[in-house]
Amino acid sequence: MTMNDSQGAPFSRRDFLERLAGVGGTALLMTGMSALGFGIASAAVAPPVLQGGGKGKKVIVLGTGVAGMTSAYELSEAGYDVTVLEGRDRVGGRSWTARKGTKMHEIGGEEEVCDFEEGYYINPGPWRIPYFHRGYLHYAKKFGVAVELFNNDNDQSFINYEKGTGPLAGKPIRKVGIAADMRGYADEMLAKQVRQGALDAEFTPGDKELFLDYLRSEGYLTRDDFKYIGAEGREPTINPGAGLDPGEGKWSKPYPLTDILKSKTWQVLKSISALDQQRTMFEPIGGMIMLPLGFQKNLKPKIQLQHVVEKISQTPGSITVSYTDAATGQKGSVTADYCVCTIPLSVLRTIDVQCSPKFKEAIGGVSYALVGKMGIQMKTRFWEDTYHMYGGHVYVDDPMISTISVPSTGWLGQKGVVLGFYPHGAAAAKISAMSLAERKAYALAGGSKIFPEYAANAEGTFSICWHRVPFNMGGWAEWTEEGRAKYYPTLLEPEGRLYLAGEHLSYLTGWQEGGIESAWQQIAKLHKAAMAA
């Protein structure tokens, strides 16, 4: 099969996919392949059919994040006898929601109790679901977990870049103005070159005029002389309304190009967002914990909480997981035909796993993200009331704050919980070294640069630095190219009767979807082995 490009020259699906991979990397390639009906496993849209059923064979599932829940649910539905062990006193893993009374005790840190009011919450881990994460949406639909739109890009949001220079540096300015002006100026300059004939060699007959039409339309350039003098919708000086003043049409004046360039605020602009940041995005109403709770409600086996895994051992015919019951201090073990282990590799490497040296080395072959978040309950929704900003992210270039996000839930309500910081890497290491009071002070100072009323509105907070959280020891797996080549393939294959699953064993690391699709892939392998046994 071939497709035609605009020149009429045929090119193959393979060419097309290679071009896709060239512009968008593997993720875009996968989506493209899925759209073309290749049906490759990495972009699965439905759970595997476990033909023939489990026939009562025993499986132990370790962990109750989305990978563990997916494995436990599908295997038990197919007739396997599933035992689910969870180290914590709650389900969900990183798929979680902090609300009033939620406790956290980071390693080396203080005891923290979330002091939000009833009804308010923050998702300290994953928080947004891209439209193409079909596995997550599959289960949300299946279990009736209601979702709402997550506003991942708001033109009315602010950029505050302090590291640039010039009059726009270190000042909160609306994204809409920067976007309109940068594109308008760029379009104007390009139009000038095209009209002067500087780029004639680039065009086939007739295309030059069409291209100029595009530039004029895209950049709101003037009709006859292609000048950028401002854009429709660019921060009106008066909003349209009733009365004599027309409002609309009185657009604010563009910033000088040199000021924008020097401010570096253009760094937030991209022609389109990266695939996993594009519209449309969702979030579960009531928080990310709603999906694990949906699984739990529909799961046949009872989840054994506070069963902390200490050892995984195998004989030729069975696999045994030894644990300590953290509630009673008693030790115990479960023996089964197979085990699906969704414990993060950052934690698994501290557990006595009896396996080949090659597998052991691979478990240690990936690093986990240092990452932090803080939720701050605000007593008014000043971002909505005063700034007309409904959801979205404030972009700052202080890496210890990184992103300030206002909620996409509770619209027009009384209060709301703002994401106060979301640092990564070295910046997260620094935030996590602070006391809880220092973290709050830092977050409030950062937010006050954007919104003067920020600190005065702040009430309770909840912060987390995932690299210091027991049972996680990191935000998500960060594979290097070397690790992907050397260790990742080893971990995808079963080690005897042990199957690993989780976001760490996908090309969707750090996303819920990675956990779900990894679980689908691994339980399909497990089922194949069980059928052959």
Binding site: G108, E162, S273, L370, A426, H467, W511
Partner: protein, 132 residues
């Protein structure tokens, strides 16, 4: 004025109390606390299996170029601090760590850090658009 009240004063003023260059802190113990202690822990004892102990660590206590390279380039799960700390600050931290908690190795000077830092360009930590 203690550290805590300094932080809250800075917060009230809206000042960037912790941004590397502006603060110009060069006390090794303080810098260690701010940048390293969250993972390697307050007494350098680390967290088994997750964050290496700094007490008695061979690479840390060996040729000064070794630890200087790790701090400026990162290694495994450890981020690189090349954009967060000056040569003097890294020198102060390494000198402190190499002579604390029973460690007995000589100082690491700023010139060594500078030489290692520019050996191969470290990956950029530039804050980009949101990740997950």
């Amino acid at each position: 004025m203690n550290f805590k009240s300094l932080v809250s004063t800075a917060a009230l003023l809206g000042a960037a109390a912790f941004s590397g260059g502006a603060f110009a802190q060069t006390d090794g113990a303080t810098l260690f606390k701010q940048n390293c202690s969250a993972c390697h822990q307050a007494m350098g004892q680390g967290v088994p299996g997750a964050f290496p102990a700094l007490v008695g660590d061979k690479l840390l206590l060996g040729d000064p170029k070794g630890p200087a390279y790790v701090v400026t380039h990162g290694r495994g799960g450890m981020p690189n601090f090349s954009e967060d700390l000056t040569d003097d600050q890294i020198s102060a931290i390494l000198t402190f760590v190499r002579s604390s908690w029973g460690n007995k190795a000589g100082p690491v000077d700023a010139a060594t850090v500078k030489a290692v830092r520019s050996a191969n360009a470290p990956p950029s930590n530039e804050a980009g658009l949101p990740f997950h």
